[in-house]
C-alpha cells in the first residue's frame, strides 16, 4: 500500500485556486521530487500533505486513512518534516533540538526518557554530526543546521520524510552534503522521501545515484508530467515549465553508469534566445 496517497487534491487562497485535482502516491523506498517555478504551490501542497492545511477538495490518505481524521502525533509518526529554513529563536543545544523529534511519542506532560535519548543519539550518528551534539544550534552554519533538522526528522522514526527545498541557501559543498545524506537515507534506511526542489539537476543526481526516483513537474495548477527523471526532464518539458532553454547532456563515467545533467542556456523571453528560438 502507498505510504501517502493524494486523491484529487485542490487548494487555493481567498478563492483563487492554486492547484486542482492533484493525484499521486508515494511508495516505500522511493524518492519523489516536486519541481516547479516559484509560486506554483509546491510548499502549499506539502502543507496539505503534512496536515497543516486542509485541501478545499479531495483527500490525502496516510496508510489508507484520511489525514484530516488523524491526530497530529499520529501524523508525526508517519511523516517527518525538514523545513526550508528553520527560524532559530533560543540557543538550544543540538541534542535538545534532535530530542524534540520524539515529541510524538511522549505524552503531554512527559519528558524524554533514556530510550528517546538513545534514539536521538543514533539519529545524530546516522547524519554524522555527533561531534556537534553539545553545541548551541544558533551558532552553527546553515548547512549544519539543516543536518540537525534531518537528524530531528530521523528521530521521529517515520517511514516518510518531507523536505521543502532542503538545500536552499546552502553553499556549493553543503548542498552536496545534504544530497548525499538523502541518498544514504533512502538507500540504507529504506526511507521514502518527498522533496520539493528548485534544481532539476537534483532529480538527475538521485537517478544517477541509482535510486528509484520520480519527478512531478508542477505547473498551471496541476502536474505537467510525472515519471523518472530521464523520461520527464526533457528539454521540451523544461522549456515549458520554466521558460528556459536547456541542453540535457549525458556522459559515461564507466561502462555501467552515465551521468546526466541539465545545462541552462537562456530564458525564452530574452532577446538573444528569441533569435535562437526561431532557429530551433
Amino acid at each position: 500500500m502507498a505510504l501517502i496517497e493524494a486523491r484529487g487534491v485542490s487548494f487555493g487562497y481567498n478563492g483563487i485556486p492554486l492547484f486542482q485535482d492533484i493525484n499521486f502516491s508515494i511508495e516505500p523506498g522511493e524518492l519523489f521530487c516536486l519541481l516547479g517555478p516559484n509560486g506554483c504551490g509546491k510548499t502549499t501542497l506539502l502543507d496539505c500533505i503534512l496536515g497543516h492545511l486542509k485541501p478545499l477538495s479531495g483527500e490525502i490518505l496516510l496508510d489508507g486513512s484520511s489525514i484530516i481524521r488523524i491526530r497530529p502525533e499520529q501524523i508525526a509518526r508517519q511523516i517527518a518534516y525538514v523545513p526550508q529554513t528553520h527560524e532559530k529563536t533560543f540557543p538550544y543545544r543540538v541534542l535538545d533540538v534532535v530530542l524534540m523529534g520524539r515529541a510524538a511519542y511522549i505524552g503531554m506532560f512527559g519528558r524524554p526518557e533514556e530510550e528517546d535519548l538513545a534514539i536521538a543519539e543514533e539519529a545524530l550518528a546516522t547524519v554524522g554530526i555527533t561531534h556537534l551534539r553539545n553545541r548551541r544550534y544558533t551558532q552553527l552554519s546553515g548547512g549544519e543546521v539543516q543536518l540537525v533538522m534531518v537528524a530531528r526528522a530521523l528521530a521521529q522514526r517515520t517511514p516518510v520524510i518531507v523536505m521543502d527545498e532542503p538545500t536552499a541557501h546552502l553553499d556549493f559543498k553543503h548542498e552536496l552534503v545534504i544530497m548525499e545524506k538523502v541518498v544514504e537515507l533512502v538507500r540504507e534506511q529504506g526511507l521514502a522521501i518527498l522533496m520539493a526542489t528548485h534544481f532539476p539537476n537534483h532529480c538527475f543526481y538521485f537517478e544517477n545515484s541509482g535510486l528509484v526516483t520520480r519527478v512531478a513537474m508542477m505547473s498551471n495548477m496541476n502536474f505537467l508530467a510525472v515519471g523518472s527523471p530521464s523520461e520527464v526532464l526533457s528539454e521540451e518539458n523544461l522549456k515549458h515549465l520554466y521558460k528556459v532553454n536547456t541542453r540535457v547532456v549525458s556522459f559515461p563515467v564507466d561502462s555501467k553508469q552515465e551521468l546526466k545533467q541539465i545545462i541552462a542556456l537562456s530564458t525564452t523571453d530574452s532577446r538573444h534566445e528569441n533569435e535562437q528560438g526561431r532557429r530551433i
Binding site: I75, P83, Y92, D96, R111
Partner: protein, 344 residues
Amino acid sequence: MTGNYLADNTRKRRLTYLLLVVAPLAFIFVSLFLGRYPVSITDVIYILWCKISGNPCSLPDICQTIVWDIRLPRAILGALVGGCLSISGAAFQGIFRNPLVNSGILGVSSGAGFGAALAIILFNAIAPTYIFAFTFGILAVILSYLIARVYNATPTIMLVLGGVIVSSVFSALISLTKYVADPMDQLPAIVFWLMGSLASARYQDIAIAGIPMLIGICGILAIRWRINVMSMGDKEAQSLGINPVINKGIVIACATLATAGAVCVSGIIGWVGLVMPHIGRMLVGNDNRVLIPTSLSLGACFLILVDNLGRMLTGSEIPLGILTALVGGPFFVYLLKRTKGGGW
C-alpha cells in the same frame, strides 16, 4: 556552559533541583529575623518550633506575632508571587518565541490593575479588590485571545498584538479611574496598589490566591518540555506531533492563572517576569526542562530579597515595583558580564 548539560547528568541534575528547592526556603528563613524589630536566629528557630509542634512559647507575644503572623506569611507570599511572575514570563517567552515577552504580555497586569482600581473606587475595601483584580486580569487575557481569534486562528503575532491592544485599553481605563477617584484617599490607594506591595500579606491571602498560583505553577512545570517544542513555531511543532493550538492554550491558561493570582494580592510588580527568566537562561541555558524550575526558584528568591530590602532600607516601606528594577538592573548587567549572555 556547564549548566547546559544538566539534562544528561543525573547526579548534577538532582543537585541542581535540590538547590532550586532549598534556596527559596533559605531566603524565607533568613527574612524571618530581618527587619526593624530585632529577633535573634535562636528566637526565630524557637518560635518556629513552638508553633509547629504546638508547644507554648515563652517569648513575648509581639515577637511571636512578628515572626509567625507578619514576616512568615509575607515571605511565603513573596516567594509565591515572585515564582509565579517569573515562571509565567519564562513560559510565555517560550511559546511566543520571543525573549522580550513578560508575564503581562496578554494584558493580565493592566486588566488586574483596572479591576483593583475599580474596586477601590466602588467599595474601598480589601476583599473586593482581590476578586476584581483577579477577574479583570483573566478577562483581559480572554479578550486578547478573542482578538487573535478574529483572525480565524491564534497565530503568535496576533496574540501579542491582541495583548498590546487590551493592555493599552485597560491602561486608559486605569487612568480614567484615577481621574475620577477621590484625591484624598482613593487616588493614593490606587497609586500604591499599582506600585505593588506584600505589606498586607496574611495567611488567608495565601490560602485564597495560592490556589490559582499553585495550579498555574504545577501546570507549567508539568508541560515544560513541550514548551521547547512549541518554541519551534506552530508549523514545526505540529509536524513534530503536538497540536499547537491546544498546547499553547494550556500554557496560556496556566500562566494566566499564576499571574492573575500573584497580581491580585501583590499589585503590579514589573520586571520579575521579564528578567528573571533571562538570568535563568544565563545560568542554566535555554532547555525549558531546567529553565522553568530555575525561573520559578530565582523569581521566588529575588522577590523575597527585594521585599526585605523594601521594608528595611528606609523608615517607611518602598513599593516593590520600584525596587525590583533598581536592584535587578545592576544585577542583570553583572551577570551579563560574567556569563557573556549565555549564547545570545
